[in-house]
């Protein structure tokens, strides 16, 4: 039995007596007897001590091979191995952030609210549009909400999705489209970039969804996407890598209407894929369709600056079946991490992060392409991730490379290998990585 219920037996007895009851079981008299379980009916072990529990968790953890010095990470594909400064962890894990609920009582929630306000400001800046929400679940859900907004705004169910969008995100878009009835059409890639086709032939659509850089790491031409969207009467929804904004023009600068993305690169460890952070930003004109929470600045009765969740009439608890989204619990704590990490990076650090990642990617790419049998997957420009082809099945390659101490990359369906590099990767690691690849493909 756990040790987190404080009641002593005496206390239980006297509380029951206060209510005229004589056993805990009587508390459940409303439950039809036929379905009630006797104590101990669950086929589950009894509770452990805290220490045995942690031992078991450590045992499970030891069955994984985590990224680190023994498995140097060259994998990306939506989850990146960036540095995590100590200050960010310490601050974000302060229990006031960790154990608060959604800020329903702003008078005692200014800590979370102001942090979210700062987060929204940062996400809006990186996106290049005016307003950002207080987070969504992950990159995939952000894409879904982006398309939902576009469909609601244009009242057209047809959405165009670039094949360069993360395959898992596309899969989630497809799953939810069954409910919303969106007609999802995929636009293929050509040599790494989305082949939109001639705008003249564009049929009406609500949304054009493109990833920037795309899943293959290639930097899409957002002017083309914007032009195609305009021709189709669609909103341009860009799923961006926020790290890219350290070097590249923002999606907003190309006229994106909605900017979504995965915030994991800022302050969140690989975490086996979650909790991550769905970024969502849009032009101010769409703010009343914004999914999820939005924090706004206001004043208190005495005129002091204060923050509060606002435009709440969009939300499910008020608008119910007509809400802009069903999201309630979001990923606030991860947004807090993201804000703090961006604060740590600052203007200069963000640029350095992108630049150093790009350098490492360039060095890695050069080292791989110098190997016999390794060829480029495409010829589009990249930032910190790129694809190659090797003579080996990529799954086999990744398995063998694990024995060499590397997470070599993410296998592509077409037999390619997706390789990412971050500011953590050094010349030495890259050289050892290339040598190991040379060895395993030999």
């Amino acid at each position: 039995m756990g040790h987190y219920v404080p009641h002593t037996d005496d206390e239980i007895a006297s509380m029951l007596a206060f209510m005229g009851l004589s056993s805990l079981d009587e508390l459940f008299d409303a439950v039809p007897a036929a379905m009630r379980l006797a104590a101990g009916s669950l086929h589950m072990a009894d509770g452990l001590s805290e220490f045995e529990t942690l031992d078991e968790m450590a045992r499970l953890a030891s069955l994984n091979r985590a990224c680190g010095p023994d498995l140097v990470c060259f994998a990306g594909g939506g989850a990146y191995d960036h540095e995590l400064p100590a200050a960010v962890k310490r601050l974000a894990f302060r229990s006031e952030f960790v154990t608060a609920y959604t800020p329903y009582q702003p008078e005692v929630a200014q800590g979370v609210l102001q942090t979210l306000f700062e987060y929204q400001t940062l996400v809006a800046r990186l996106s290049g549009v005016e307003v950002a929400n207080a987070s969504l679940y992950d990159g995939a859900s952000a894409c879904v909400e982006g398309l939902n907004l576009a469909v609601a705004a244009t009242r057209n169910q047809r959405v165009l999705v670039s094949a360069g969008v993360h395959p898992n995100w596309r899969a989630v878009v497809d799953t939810f489209a069954v409910g919303t009835g969106h007609e999802v059409e995929m636009v293929p890639l050509q040599d790494g970039l989305t082949a939109w086709g001639d705008p003249v032939d564009a049929k009406p659509a609500s949304a054009v969804l493109v990833q920037f850089p795309n899943y293959l790491g290639c930097i899409e031409d957002l002017r083309q996407a914007r032009a195609y969207a305009d021709a189709a009467g669609a909103l341009l929804v860009v799923a961006f890598d926020p790290v890219a904004s350290g070097l590249l023009n923002t999606p907003g600068s190309y006229g994106a209407d909605v900017v979504v993305g995965e915030g994991q690169p800022f302050g969140t460890p690989l975490s086996f894929g979650g909790p991550y952070l769905g970024l969502f930003a849009c032009k101010l004109e769409h703010v009343r369709r914004l999914p999820g929470r939005l924090v706004g600045e206001t004043v208190d009765v005495e005129g002091r600056r204060a923050y509060v969740t606002t435009l709440r009439t969009r939300e499910q608890d008020i608008r119910r079946e007509k809400a802009s989204s069903n999201v309630c619990t979001n990923q606030t704590l991860i947004a807090v991490c993201c804000a703090i990490q961006l604060g740590w990076l600052g203007t200069g650090g963000l640029r350095e992060l992108a630049l150093r990642s790009a350098r490492a990617a360039r060095a890695t790419r050069q080292a791989l392409l110098a190997l016999d049998g390794v060829v480029a997957h495409n010829h589009a420009p990249v930032l910190r991730e790129f694809a190659v082809r090797t003579p080996l099945d990529p799954h086999v390659l990744v398995d063998r490379m694990a024995d060499e101490g590397f997470l070599a990359g993410v296998p592509l369906d077409d037999g390619g290998l997706l390789v990412a590099a971050t500011e953590r990767r050094t010349r030495d690691e890259i050289d050892r990585y290339a040598s190991a690849i040379e060895k395993v493909i030999r």
Binding site: H7, L37, A61, S62, P85, T99, A100
Partner: protein, 492 residues
């Protein structure tokens, strides 16, 4: 930079990160990568993509970063500071052990696209957790992908849809009670269904007759919370289940209130077909100021083949775990495997409590809520004053009429008394509702203090209208926030 922004010393505003920013200041440092060739941005990125100016972030020292966010935490209430009887939210104490568990490098530093051969520990954990959740809910199979309750609901509705379609039928309606949480109707819409509302009867439960009227062969199913949002157990659940099943509908269980019945009764045994759980309520994943949570969905045998994939499963050859996708899967509902570290926390919580401990959780949660209802009798209205489960709903209806005391005033005044407020104005069917969920981790002494505070508040409605006066900010002008929208610092 001034620490007066912390209530410890003063009550001034805390400047934002942007106000603290000074050109050229920095906290960052990176390792020496050891490149001989120091490519410049122009060497790496085609000119047309390169930003002319860096995006402004903020420029602060690590010292000021730490000061700023530490001060902000002094402006934030949390479970670790005191009781949080926020109805429907199950703000129980989150054992610190679970933080340590989720912080293990062997869990936190695993790449989600790593091959199964490198992630056997995670797969075992997820598989064990899914099994336990099935056992707890009386279900057969479980997906851990949904990252929150609402995501679980939508997943469940898509499962419902897939199942009906597999039976070769199209249905368009989903029934929900008028006491349901807002995410239920919102999810119904996203699931492509129309919401049909069924009223509650005067006992606060689904009006069975009214339900029967609404049941026909266009009904895909019903979504129920049991105990419902009034904290009452739907005593006629067997009849409800029979009626819905009779028209070929499915029963969806909104598990937000599962804490009340752990080890006592299982949704599967009540007749439910699909169940979501809020691990951030029942299984002590901390709320994080609004997430992340985890909203696994468990289903009965006949729905298992529709679950999202991939799922971890033991390989038939005994060689560990592999990923499998159910035969008629509705597809992915998350970028990866769900909020994995939150799932790990929940698993550690289940291990430390065990089957015996989970039942004790439910018993104590229900004990606390009933005791508090008894204690507040005669102080506040208790619209449905009969044995409740883990929470109950009080109301200031009479006090409002008599003395102008609104639920909102109680909420604000309670902050001064050192407690977080209950959920107010929900469920919608109770006027001036105060939805109180003490949870099992609060002691009888804390309940007594809370009751005393609520009594004091009821005794002085005028004073309550002025509250809160001792918080970092006073009552906040919400209307102004909406009217004059400032969603970012740049919009100031």
């Amino acid at each position: 930079m001034k620490a007066t922004s912390i209530p410890l010393m003063g009550r001034e505003e805390e400047p934002t990160l942007f106000d603290l920013s000074e050109p050229g200041r920095r906290a960052w440092s990176f390792r020496d990568q050891g490149f001989a060739e120091e490519w410049a941005a122009e060497d790496l990125i085609p000119a047309e993509h390169l930003a002319a100016e860096p995006v402004p972030v903020a420029q602060v020292s690590e010292r000021d970063l730490v000061g700023h966010f530490t001060r902000l935490t002094h402006r934030q209430y949390s479970v670790d500071l005191g009781a949080y009887p926020l109805g429907s939210c199950t703000m129980k104490y989150n054992p610190k052990l679970c933080d340590d568990a989720a912080g293990l490098a062997g869990l936190a530093n695993v790449h989600p696209a790593a091959p199964a051969s490198l992630t056997q520990g995670w797969m075992a954990l997820l598989s064990d957790l899914a099994d336990a959740l099935c056992e707890i809910t009386g279900m057969s199979a479980c997906t851990l992908q949904p990252p929150a309750g609402a995501a679980g609901e939508l997943t469940g509705l898509l499962l419902m849809r897939a199942w009906h379609e597999a039976q070769g039928r199209q249905r368009s309606k989903v029934i929900i009670p008028d006491s349901a949480h807002g995410t239920n109707p919102a999810s119904v819409t996203l699931g492509g269904y129309q919401t049909v509302t069924v009223p509650s009867d005067d006992r606060g439960c689904v009006d069975l007759a009214a339900l029967r009227e609404r049941l026909d062969d266009d009904v895909a199913g019903i979504m129920l919370t049991n105990p419902n949002t009034l904290g009452l157990f739907e005593e006629e659940i067997t009849e409800i289940a029979a009626a819905v099943h009779e028209v070929g509908g499915l029963l969806y269980y909104d598990g937000a209130n599962l804490n009340a019945i752990l080890g006592v009764v299982r949704p599967g045994d009540m007749g439910f077909d699909i169940v979501h759980m809020n691990l951030h309520k029942t299984f002590a994943v901390p709320h994080g100021g609004g997430g992340p949570g985890a909203g696994p969905v468990a289903v009965s045998e006949r729905l298992a083949e529709f679950l999202p994939g991939p799922l971890p499963a033991l390989r038939p050859d005994g060689g560990g775990y592999e990923w499998t996708v159910p035969a008629r899967s509705i597809g992915r509902v998350h970028s990866w495997h769900g909020n994995a570290l939150a799932l790990a926390r929940a698993w550690s919580y289940i291990l430390v409590n065990g089957g015996d401990g989970l039942r004790r959780v439910a018993e104590a949660a229900v004990l606390n809520a009933n005791w508090l209802r008894h204690r507040l009798r005669g102080v506040y209205d208790i619209p449905f004053d009969r044995p409740n489960m883990h929470e109950f709903v009080a109301s200031t209806k009479s006090l409002k009429k008599a003395a102008g005391l609104r639920a909102l005033d109680v909420a604000k005044r309670l902050l001064e008394e050192g407690f977080h407020s209950p959920t107010v104005y929900f469920p919608l069917i109770v006027e001036e509702a105060l939805m109180i969920e003490p949870t099992e981790t609060e002691s009888p002494q804390t309940l007594e203090d809370l009751a005393d505070a609520l009594e004091r508040i009821a005794a002085d409605p005028e004073d309550a209208a002025l509250a809160p006066r001792t918080t970092p900010v006073g009552r906040v002008d919400e209307a102004r926030a909406a009217r004059h929208l400032i969603p970012t610092w740049d919009a100031r």
